[in-house]
């Protein structure tokens, strides 16, 4: 062994190098307060290791970034651990950086002859912040996407070259593939490369001047190895432990896939940038550049000038006071941002947006795990084509001009001016029953009395129309069994999979009521009560009974997708409302895909996971 080491040393000079690396004299002895630099190096090493392995599973493009991160997080064994370590160590790094900087300032370690090393440290800090900014986008989830969108928009404020700069960073006119490839190249290549180079310089210059002892007479001098190394290692262990606990008990979250058409109202930067985010609120109009660039730039400039300021008699005190004030400012702004989102008057909106984002994130996981997985169109397409997710908004935009949905506009927002029926629960037993019993009521045709169509008021065409008058005269005379039977019969036409099995016996009775008006052949006025008087109905290709005048809508396969499609596209057709129609056609109002989603949503045809927590 020794022979080998001798040989190696002769060829490389390794003993001297190791000796130089480890046997650094520490005046005043090893101390806990010197550990921060080492913990930063440790944190960075963890990032390099976990980052390289993440790289092996990550694919930067707008159709695969989120998908590959999803795969890492939920499908690859220990993927959650790898991602969690990287995610939380990044945050730990920012905290450690702040502590390290504070300690350097308090101990005066920035003063001559260590100015250059102080500046190298500030450059390193910028690189670390750059890494965190670029890394935030890479999962390509809603949060990272929208927060980074705002951050890069701010780049356009840079005088003269701002817009060019922004376009270079984004890689084109809009966010997309090239934003990811660029951010990834920065995050995994350029910035870590710079960081390693500057870190090497930082450590080399540090060694040249030795440690700035806080108090050289504290204790007997000690050596870096093993005294300080042990303390450093224990501190690193502490950092690792915290990061592990966060990984296990909090976990790195992954939001819903980024979708440029789906605004995310709760876009916030990482918590350590929140103060800048909040700061912007205080700069109205064109003064924005002050809040975004100039003031932060000046504050950083003062930081960089600290070694010179220290030459002045009270300089060091000033520097410490400056640091404390800036920290308090940052703390205040962060608290303020948190307060406004969680306690302020608009916190309800924020929480709704967060909850909504949460729902989408959970839903996409359901769709992937219980549906057909991720197609080549990516995760975003899953949510876009999911009736449960996309339906409410389509309803709000296309139907809520007149209709309400359980009293709201489909998305839970207010709907006070409805002029048509409430479609919440459309086609269900309760909904049908209500319609049979009180078609002119507030849930059905009632509101049409306040509406107008093609510039003409609808007045009581429907609210006191044939159906409403029929109900007034007949509904009260029907037994509850007859009503339930008719409802079951209508329900049986709709191929609904979400309403439980059809009671075939009851439906058969309902058909009798539909055709004859009553289950009791001798009931008084039964034939004028029969639905068939006004509504045609074809079952299995054969029309029911003898067709009457049939002024009301054709109810063949009522409530099925085909019926609803026809009804929405041709409400004024003779077999629907005909001349009395007061509903605009849905032709050309939306794309075919959107229309299908709306049909499915109204009929609640979507993937539902049973028995989930």
């Amino acid at each position: 062994m020794n022979t080998f080491l001798n040989w190696l040393d002769n060829r490389t000079g390794i003993r001297a190098t190791v000796h130089e690396a480890l046997f650094e004299r520490i005046p005043g002895g090893a101390r806990w307060r010197y550990v921060w630099g080492s913990t930063l190096v440790f944190a960075f090493s963890v990032q390099v290791i976990t980052g390289l392995f993440l790289w092996m599973a990550y694919s930067p493009s707008s159709l695969t970034a989120w998908e590959s991160v999803y795969f890492i997080t939920y499908d690859m064994q220990f993927g959650w651990l790898l991602r969690g370590l990287h995610h939380f160590m990044a945050q730990a790094m920012v905290v450690l950086l702040a502590i390290h900087l504070m300690q350097v300032i308090i101990d005066g370690a920035y003063k001559a002859p260590r100015e250059v090393n102080f500046w190298l440290g500030l450059i390193l800090m910028q690189i670390v912040l750059g890494l965190s900014l670029t890394g935030y986008l890479l999962p390509w989830d809603q949060k990272g996407f929208w927060a980074t969108n705002v951050a890069t928009k701010l780049m356009t404020l840079v005088p003269v070259v701002g817009t060019k700069l922004q376009r270079l960073v984004v890689g084109g006119p809009t966010y997309g593939h090239h934003t990811l490839t660029r951010f990834f190249a920065m995050h995994a290549g350029v910035l870590p490369g710079l960081l390693i180079a500057f870190l090497a310089l930082h450590i080399a210059v540090f060694r040249r001047h030795g440690i700035k002892a806080a108090d050289p007479l504290h204790k007997k001098d000690a050596m870096f190895w093993p005294d300080q190394v042990l303390k450093d290692a224990v501190a690193c262990l502490g950092v690792l432990l915290v990061v592990l606990l966060l990984t296990i008990f909090v976990g790195a979250e992954l939001g819903a896939p980024a979708d440029p058409s789906q605004a995310y109202a709760a876009a916030r930067p990482e918590w350590y940038f929140l103060f800048l985010f909040q700061f912007l609120k205080y700069f109205p109009g064109e003064t924005e550049i002050w809040g975004a660039l100039i003031i932060p730039g000046i504050m950083f400039g003062v930081l960089a000038l600290m070694p010179f300021l220290a030459k002045w008699k009270l300089g060091h005190r000033f520097n410490i006071a400056y640091m404390v004030i800036v920290l308090c400012g940052i703390g205040y702004l962060t608290a303020q941002a948190w307060h406004e989102d969680n306690r302020g008057p608009k916190s309800a909106d924020y929480h709704r947006a967060v909850a909504d984002a949460q729902t989408r994130a959970e839903r996409v996981r359901e769709l992937i795990e219980y549906g057909e997985g991720i197609s080549e169109k990516g995760g975003r397409a899953l949510l876009r084509s999911d009736p449960k997710t996309a339906g409410p908004d389509l309803f709000k935009r296309n139907c809520a001009v007149c209709h309400s949905f359980d009293g709201h506009d489909g998305t839970g927002g207010p709907q006070e001016k409805a002029t048509a029926s409430d479609l919440g629960g459309f086609g269900s037993r309760d909904w049908l029953k209500g319609f049979v019993v009180e078609p002119g009521g507030p849930k059905y045709f009632g509101p049409t009395a306040n509406g107008s169509f093609n510039g003409k008021p609808i007045a009581d065409t429907f609210s006191n129309g044939a159906m409403a008058r029929w109900a007034k005269e007949h509904a009260g005379k029907m037994s509850s069994e007859e009503i339930a039977a008719v409802v079951e019969f209508l329900l049986s036409q709709g191929d609904r999979t979400d309403l439980g099995p059809v009671d075939a016996d009851l439906a058969a009775k309902g058909r009798e009521v539909f055709e004859l008006g009553s289950l009791d052949a001798n009931a008084e006025g039964a034939e004028s009560r029969a639905c068939l008087q006004c509504h045609e109905m074809v079952i299995d290709g054969a029309p029911l009974g003898t067709q009457g005048l049939a002024p009301g809508p054709d109810l063949s396969r009522y409530g099925s997708e085909a019926w609803l499609r026809d009804f929405l596209l041709n409400p004024d057709a003779p077999h629907n409302y005909g001349d009395r129609n007061a509903m605009p056609s849905y032709k050309d109002r939306m794309t075919e895909a959107e229309f299908n989603i709306l049909l499915k949503w109204l009929r609640r045809q979507w993937l539902e996971v049973k028995g989930k927590k």
């Binding site: 003993r15 969108n149 928009k153 084109g172 006119p173 809009t174 997309g176 058409s261 912007l280 109002r589």
Partner: protein
Amino acid sequence: MEHDKKPDSGPVQDFLNAEEPRRDFFTQAAAVVTGAALGVVPLFAGLAVFTDPLRKRERKSEGGADADGFLKVAPLDGLLKGGEPRRYEVIDDRTDAWNLFPREAVGAVYLVRPVDGLVKAFNVKCPHAGCSVDFKAENACFQCPCHDSSFKPNDGLIANPNSPSPRGLDELEVKEVDGMVWVKYQEFQPGTSHKVPEA
């Protein structure tokens, strides 16, 4: 022991300690120039590609825009006269580097129909930093969820003077044809007091 030797007595040190040979200016200059030339070629190739987004012309949309660049957005009868602003997606073909996504939402607008006159269209993007504004029926104004800018519903101008946004919502050109609202969808640079179209 070998490693107890003075560090300045190794072969490398011997070489460095030896008297330096004379340096010829021209040799130095030639070395510098050659070295620079070696670096320039790969760097040029890289930067040329990197700056491509600054030069590339956008592909013309074929996703339903008419000759003047208007896109069909919504049926007119979906908007009540004097009613609240409604949000609509703007559908067009979208190019993302090497991919073409036919007929996708490329942005969104709010449409407001005054009691009389033409429909107005506002880009939903906040001119402050580009977040999407919401319409808040309770306060009868547009509200930005990011830094609290607020805008008036009828003309999009700034409602609360403390709003950080430097200008009102960006109004877009509109035309009404055959009962449909067409909008010339455009985005503008954030942070300026006047509208500068995004190139």
